[in-house]
């Protein structure tokens, strides 16, 4: 009975560490600095083929 308990507790501990690393990474990479922007940004279609990419080169005289 105890061996399965130890295994599960170990698993929980492992997951806590993974989650902790994940959160620390997210904080370090600045994901908590702007909490509102990304949620809105996802709504915009960046892959619309009509958006000219680097198209301004031509009139860049």
């Amino acid at each position: 009975m105890n061996s399965i308990l130890i295994f599960l507790l170990g698993l929980a501990g492992f997951m806590v560490i993974i989650a902790g690393i994940g959160i620390f990474w997210a904080i370090r990479s600045g994901q908590f600095e702007d909490m509102a922007g990304p949620a809105q940004r996802i709504l915009m279609d960046d892959d619309d083929p009509r958006i000219p990419r680097r198209a301004l080169k031509k009139d860049d005289k």
């Binding site: 308990l5 959160i23 904080i27 809105q40 009509r50």
Partner: protein, 805 residues
């Protein structure tokens, strides 16, 4: 055509008789001015129409780019000037931080990022929606910073470079540290509580000793990070409080955490009894989260205000040995002579060494008015030079300018705590002494009665009576109300603002800039001679092209640039008007003093609205037209005044404007108490009189002349577009510039006070009720921790109701 009578780009009503159509996503749309048309066109040409589908707020009205402004941008390419705000990442790769003005919704962020990323040479663009700041890196071999700034202006936004202050970096780091602490505590609390459920269940249903021991040891390990890392700020604060002799609530918090941990470790080692790891982690998580929320709300208000303060240019022209050189403002020293060209912002505080001009000190006064400046007159950094070039002897730069002083004021304001929160701290402090004494008495009593239960009882008393709910009662309510208000564009800059708002009995308005827009608007054109209205307007606007006077803008916004006549020999007469040659004839536009014609002639019969300014257009022989310009009421002013009056609040106007003008506006608003021609000291006296009569006065103002009055009022509100000084001396800033927000703020104040009272009653009632039971041993520690958490939770949830006000 969009047909609803508003500009498709900026949403303002379309002026009559203008026609600026543009095809957007296959539909013809009507735009209100040349500026909006240009901006919309730039957006469409770059394939960014999607902006219009996703935006959730209207942008500001577009401005046409003026060649002078563009050439000013070129100065930002100067290496000397870039020194202060540009970092070189790698050879030729540069990075700068910009403040973007005009961001109103998330679509704006997208628009800027998309557009700038399309530019060749731009490596990365990141716009932060929360604080309206952008970080841009570019390859200087392919693109110049001025080009990037110009592209941003083309989209209708305004970008100012700024040097990321040390303070800001500190703030960012502090925030990251707080989030890390909360994350660690949260993770550990979740695990420990899960195990605690098993332990409690085991205690009543039976669990073998080995399993219970295992669970206790695992809980101990999981609690360690909380005890040794995240709870450290409590110990530090408690230690400081004990050293200074003023106990705060961190003292019992620390004692509870440390005793609970020590006791639990002892129990764990003994292998018998109850452990309180769950109580510790839950306790820490609650405290950290509420503090984080409170701090966040405060910092947000600082950032928003700081953005408004970056008005001083980064570079200036220094005169040395008769030569002009562009230098960074940081490098200016006292005694330098700098040149301020017409239309430019003055870079440093100083006094005029040569030249005559007028200066728009709207940043201090809130009123766009030309203030004449001659030899020896003082000028302040950030004000706009209007008419002629000025040579200025620098007296103060950077930290020593008037503007920098305002920033310091703000910092102080933000550091303040709300009065009720201070009171709660004091009560909690005193409560702490009582609590500690009581705990000691209880401990001694149980020592004599039943030494085995002493740890359990002491913990129960400490935890159950922790003044935690009491001390978060006020901050939680303030944080919830504050962040809710901020989302609507209402910025609280002082802690006490909300609670005072709740008691307000009188609202006093300064007219200019609050009830009205504070900018003159062309109301009427009266042609007298051979030219019709439109021709006269064209003449006038053409003459005003050369002028930076606020009145000039009211003419120019009526017409598009290509309709204007070319003007030669343009002349500016500060305080009088402008003159110039149009197709060989001399025309003048200005007040009565300007032309011999208006002086000599009887003033033509003209029914001028009170408070309006009249400007005359003349050619060499006759009077051509009169233009009536006046400030306009904000459209929502009337509704606001009505709402306030039906709520039984006293409403009055105290204005520096002429009596007639004030009377005119007061009549339109249905305000019976008004006084015109008030100097700041008169206003203050009137305010004091109201207060002496027992009134609690809220003052709404925007100019520097209002600053002392704003400071003297019980609570003060300033318009976001108003002056820096006004914003700094006010308790609440209406960034939205919508008048109904005043009413909204008043309501929020009342709601906050109610919620805070409920919170105090609940928290205090709970503590006093629970204490005797805990002392008598009827409350086991787990129940105490639960009670403490529930009472805090009730307080926080009650506070969160304020988000729906």
């Amino acid at each position: 055509m969009s047909g609803d009578g508003t500009c498709f780009h900026c949403g303002l009503p379309l002026p009559q008789g203008v026609d600026y159509p543009l095809e957007i996503e296959g539909q013809m749309r009507a735009l209100c001015c040349r500026g909006c048309q240009a901006v919309a066109q730039a957006i469409v040409e770059n394939g960014l129409q999607e902006y219009y589908r996703h935006r959730t707020a209207m942008p500001s009205t577009g401005h046409e780019l003026i060649p002078a402004e563009l050439s000013k941008l070129a100065l930002y390419d100067h290496p000397e000037i870039q020194k202060s705000f540009v970092i070189e990442d790698a050879p030729h790769i540069k990075q700068a931080s910009l403040i973007l003005e005009g961001i109103t919704c998330a679509a704006c962020v997208w628009l800027n990022e998309r557009h700038l990323q399309q530019l060749p040479g731009v490596k990365a663009v990141q716009v932060n929606y929360a604080n309206h700041r952008a970080r841009i890196s570019w390859d200087e071999r392919e693109i110049q910073l001025s080009r990037i700034l110009k592209e941003i202006q083309l989209l209708g936004y305004n970008a100012h470079p700024y040097n990321a202050l040390q303070q800001e970096e500190l703030r960012r780091k502090g925030r990251s540290r707080d989030i890390r602490r909360i994350a660690v505590t949260g993770l550990s609390a979740a695990q420990v509580m899960m195990l605690a459920v098993a332990l409690y269940a085991g205690a009543s249903l039976g669990m073998d000793v080995d399993t219970a021991n295992l669970l206790r040891y695992v809980s101990l390990v999981l609690t360690l990070p909380v005890f040794l890392y995240t709870a450290v700020p409590f110990y530090v604060s408690a230690w400081r409080a004990m050293k200074s002799g003023h106990l705060n609530m961190d003292v019992p918090v620390s004692i509870a955490i440390i005793t609970a941990f020590a006791g639990s470790v002892w129990v764990t080692l003994q292998g018998e009894g109850l452990v309180y790891y769950d109580a510790i982690t839950m306790f820490a998580l609650f405290l950290l989260s509420t503090r984080f929320l409170e701090r966040n709300a405060r910092e947000k208000s600082v950032e928003a205000t700081e953005n408004l303060l970056k008005l001083v240019p980064a570079m200036s022209l220094r005169l040395r040995a008769g030569k002009q050189e562009a230098v960074a403002v940081l490098d200016l020293v006292e005694g330098d002579i700098i040149l301020a060209k017409p239309g430019e912002a003055i870079a440093a505080d100083g006094e005029v060494a040569a030249g005559i001009s007028s200066v728009d000190e709207a940043l201090l006064t809130g009123e766009s008015r030309a203030v004449p400046k001659g030899m020896g007159d003082p000028v302040i950094a950030g004000s706009i030079n209007l008419d002629g070039p000025l040579e200025i002897r620098v007296t103060g730069t950077g930290e020593n300018t008037v503007l920098a002083g305002i920033v310091r004021l703000l910092d102080r304001a933000v550091a303040e705590k709300p009065r009720l929160a201070q009171l709660a701290d004091q009560v909690a402090g005193r409560f702490t002494y009582v609590l500690l004494a009581l705990t000691l008495v209880v401990a001694l009593a149980w020592w004599w009665h039943d030494p085995d239960r002493i740890l359990e009882i002491v913990l129960a008393v400490l935890v159950v009576t922790c003044p935690c709910a009491l001390s978060i009662a006020a901050p939680a309510a303030f944080a919830a109300a504050g962040s809710h208000l901020l989302k609507q564009g209402i910025l609280l800059t002082r802690g006490h603002a909300l609670e005072t708002l709740a008691k307000v009995t009188h609202v006093v308005f300064d007219k200019t800039g609050t009830l009205t827009f504070g900018k003159p608007k062309l109301l009427r054109v009266l042609p007298f001679g051979r030219l019709d209205t439109h021709a006269c307007l064209r003449m006038a606007a053409s003459l005003e092209q050369a002028s930076e006077h606020p009145l000039a803008q009211s003419f120019l916004e009526q017409l598009s640039r290509n309709e204007l006549h070319p003007v030669t020999e343009a002349q500016n007469f500060p305080g009088k008007g402008v003159a110039g040659l149009i197709s060989g004839h001399r025309y003048t536009l200005g007040n009565r003093l300007l032309s011999g014609l208006t002086q000599a002639q009887q003033e033509p019969a003209m029914d001028v609205a009170a408070g309006a300014t009249v400007v005359w257009l003349c050619d060499e022989v006759e009077l051509l037209a009169a233009f009536e310009l006046s400030d306009e009421l904000r459209p929502d002013a009337i509704t606001l005044i009505e709402t306030l009056k039906t709520q039984g609040l006293g409403v009055s106007i105290l204005s520096g404007d002429s009596n007639a003008a004030v009377q005119h506006f007061a009549a339109r608003l249905g305000i019976t108490e008004y006084r015109g021609a008030q100097r700041p000291e008169d206003k203050l006296a009137a305010l004091k009189a109201l207060q002496a009569g027992g009134g609690v006065v809220a003052m709404v103002g925007d100019g520097v002349n209002d600053a002392p009055v704003l400071a003297g009022a019980d609570v003060s509100l300033a318009m976001g577009g108003g002056t820096q000084v006004a914003r700094a001396s006010s308790d609440i800033v209406l960034l939205s510039e919508k008048l109904p927000d005043i009413w909204r703020a008043l309501q929020a104040g009342q709601a906050t006070l109610t919620v805070m009272r409920q919170n105090f009653i609940w928290a205090a009632g709970y503590n006093f009720l629970a204490l005797p039971f805990a002392a008598m041993g009827y409350i086991p520690p787990w129940l105490a921790a639960l009670g403490m958490s529930v009472s805090s939770l009730v307080v926080v949830l009650n506070a969160l109701r304020l988000r729906q006000v």
